[in-house]
Symmetry: D2
Subunit: 329 residues, 4 copies
């Protein structure tokens, strides 16, 4: 779902980086990083632990796992499989024991290519709820394989309804233990597009994401835990223009000072410059997005990789069972 | 939604015809017919008025309007417009005053061409609920234009849920006054395919359609009236084979008797012959359907015609207001 | 491409079986069979070696390889991979040295689910011609990996042109060494649907397939060898009705004779019975096909399996190179 | 087809405006304008008459008709019809007598929403070539209604071939009198997106469009006249950033001078400023485009409007025949 304009990122990683640039530690936010150089996969976990941290980051308290892999959207099936397994590993951890019945929600608009990620992921899932309910678990199935159901609700222009209304009605009627929402995200920078998967236990929180937002899709609004899985496929057009102009102003300041002219730009203070930039950004841009020209190929690979990750995670109800000393004994 | 095999038709018109062939009047069933020779549109209204009639017809008590037009699926926009208006007229009558808020449900599988009618119709609707809720009615709008919302729930193999569960949850959450369900139907004969629209106030009633069916989508299961609009786009494969074989047996009986041989076939009684036919029908056929090779073009025209009919009916909240003495005074 | 009615099969295997039933050996036709019980894959190679054999079979002289696997269209990726490899093996053999440049043609109508196989296969191919022409072969590429190009021409109702005209124009302009045409086929029996891949070096030959057919897509019409790969996804509606009725008549004859009544049906000779059956088959049926209700899932799996087979075959320009003593020396 | 980056517009109208801003008349370029205030349709015809004009405009010698209508992509069928008729009028004029056989080419990528305009237009055309060839003209047809054929060639990433190769092959094989190419365009400004149709008799000329371009689709490369019909649906991401930054620099210069500081920015000359801007534009942006979030709805309306325009123009082979004294005498 692509929302209204603001200087915006759906990635906790990018929200943190804006502080990092200023070499500031944010209280209430803890970060772990793990690099697998051989597989070229970098996993970062941002824990937002306090309301103070949430306010600073503009995202609710919770865990945000980011899997970055530069070749995520190139055609290399074996590599995609490794990413699917990394995703499955984190999903299993977050899901814990809550896997008896899972409703997967494919958010977004199937008719707009970069927004079709959610619907496409649902199209490749192994749906089992109706089979298990009619025939019971198959002999080959794991003892506790969960019932998987799925819905592609569509966007408000297609349905006339808030997505929350649709999901809430279905959740109340079918009582899943947990909801997994798949969505295309907006990044701040084109560098992260189509090479980053974010998994969070906080659900979908439009806007600042802090506070009891009317249309959030999360445990508070649905009554069951909501895990969100997303990939940034677009950058807001206004954001990209704003950011490049900020760089231009910074660069000009540097040039000016290098030229020891003290001069002009210094006389426009920071606030005046921001104001000037905002005024120059066409209001048209607020309803526009930026995306790569090969987004069709990219979304095809990404959606397949995420579906596989979910299929692995949801068919394996006992992730620890292979470990001889593992598990519950 | 294409269901399990049985000698089956979703058209009340065809159910009635099987009696007509035997020149039998069914008690509790009343029929009106209206032919517009110039426009080549024939409208039949079957009223099933008693439980006795319902049992005989295999369809619940209610009204079944059938619009037949031979060129419904040929590319002639002006003609399509006339059919849309005929459809709108009947919809308005059935809707009556219940048009403040309407949920349109596009049943069927968008990935199987003849079953994509419902999803395609929803794709061309004017969705207004979110606009009216945010901005109020536009100056140009009729005073009481209804809030139109819509959903394409998908089929059980895609969702793992009964369609009823999905619709019920959404209805309880959004409280429409009435549901209109659009669906591709199965006819008994290829002659009716893609040239017949059925409108009924009884909703969707799988199987025999009589009795409190678990997965019916009707007023009883949803709590609000359900109008169903459908076009037959397939014939069950087993039905088509059965029917042709019944004709073959009848023909052979005639040939035999014409030959005054009294003979063989007479010795197989009616029940034995039916039994033989049933045994010859491959069980594979129960999961198969018959449809025309140009079904893509056909579904495109039909879905557009039905969308237009709905758009006309739902934008006109006061169908009688032009009549000076009309309406409620 | 789904053609005009006749009692018809596109599978050489089924053409042969009609003789087998009568325990007749067809001169000029040689058959090899190979069963892999463990993998449940059965491969049959029909060699039509003489014009006499071609006339008897209703198919041109050439080789017809049929891979049968009962679970071909169930969701089991490892199994699909084995079938892809079996397909690749046979393609490599037929292609031989002609792999420097290959044009893959996805025949059929992408808007009719069972006919979308060809277009869907092309959608998953690794297309390399433009890359090799611009950048040369990549370091990782095999030395002689071929240039792969592809086209989805559409059907005549969409283009107004014979498919042959389109392909011929493109072949003359781009000069591939060989054409591989992917197409959905019609089987005679529902038993073979969606579980059989046919590979032939004779191209696409509509109708009887013998003689210099105007719209055949083969070496004669294109000037380069044409390999056709197809899967039966439909049965002609008239064929299925005809066949069941033939069985009914046979069964009635048996019943009659069992009853030692000698009688009636005997008095209708074979030709009269066939005539009666033909007359009962509605002419509507000639434009109709029969296909399974889950054809969307089936075509998704099949097209992916075939794409993979092609991707393996076309990226491997030297299939024998791993064998130390291998090759042609 | 969305090409490589450069500060770019496919609209002759925008190319001219950059001169207008400087109040410069371009020699060899003549402009006519016609406003229909009531219908809110503004038509501009740019005639590039000399090689000098072509060089200045960066577009080949020829006629460029632009139809602008602010509500082109809002849901108002009667208004769309008026635009279709305006389009048909201009097409008829350009086509003149060359309408015996027309090949319509739907350029672009059907899987990327803003680039699907061409394929979608072809999907709604009345294709007649095969019907006329098989049955002759229908009684209702105009005596000289042309044979309409169509192709959707796909993009190079899908086919491995230059679009020109595909079209050229088909043209040589089927010999149409004229080609009409439909394509999604890139505008310079978001203001023109989805509200402008450009019709030109110069065909498709990528890049500067002047000179004998390798992959142009025009009379020179195909041997028959090529009419191009396009709608701008995207802006190159780098263009939008560049333009906003140019405005920022201009604005800062003004602010600076207003502050009578003479100063800093003046010391960076025009060329230095352009250089700085170019360096700040991320190379990522060269492969990105900007498009509105509701592009799915927009392309649906636009493609339908253009199809209708073509259907009107191509079914009417004698546009002047109703005029009693008609013709050009």
């Amino acid at each position: 779902m692509m929302g209204k304009f603001q200087i915006r990122t759906d990635l906790a990683l990018e929200a943190r980086e804006s502080y990092e640039a200023d070499d500031v530690r944010v209280r209430g936010v803890r970060v772990e990083e793990e690099k697998d150089a051989q597989r070229e996969i970098c996993t970062t976990i941002v824990h937002i632990e306090t309301e103070n941290g949430a306010k600073a980051m503009g995202k609710p308290v919770g865990t945000y796992i980011t899997i970055e892999a530069p070749n995520m959207s190139t055609p290399d099936e074996d590599y995609h499989r490794e990413i699917s397994e990394e995703l499955a590993k984190h999903l299993c951890r977050i899901l814990g024991e809550r896997r008896g019945s899972v409703l997967v929600v494919g958010l977004g608009n199937r008719d707009v290519t970069p927004d079709a990620l959610g619907p496409d992921v649902v199209g490749n899932l192994h749906i089992t709820r109706h089979m298990i309910r009619e025939y019971g678990r198959m002999p080959g199935d794991l003892e506790k394989a969960g019932e998987v159901s799925a819905i592609v609700p569509g966007v408000m222009a297609q349905t006339g309804m808030e997505t929350l209304e649709i999901i809430k009605g279905i959740v109340e009627e079918t009582n899943p233990e947990v909801v997994i929402a798949i969505d295309a995200l907006a990044a701040r920078s084109t560098k992260r597009l189509n090479r980053t998967i974010q998994i969070t236990d906080t659900g979908i929180n439009p806007g600042s994401g802090v506070g009891n937002h009317r249309n959030a899709i999360n445990e508070e609004t649905l009554g069951v835990p909501v895990i969100a899985v997303g990939v940034p496929t677009v950058v807001d057009a206004a954001t990209i223009v704003n950011d490049t102009m900020e760089e231009l102003v910074a660069e000009m300041d540097r040039s000016a000072s290098m030229q020891r002219l003290g001069g002009t730009l210094g006389t426009l203070d920071q606030a005046e410059k921001h104001q000037m930039i905002r005024e120059l950004i066409s209001p048209h841009l607020n309803t526009m997005f930026v995306t790569p020209k090969d987004i069709d190929e990219t979304v095809k690979y990404l959606s397949y990789t995420i579906s596989e990750g979910l299929n692995i995670a949801l068919s394996d109800a006992q992730p620890d069972r292979e470990k001889p000393d593992g598990g519950r004994g």
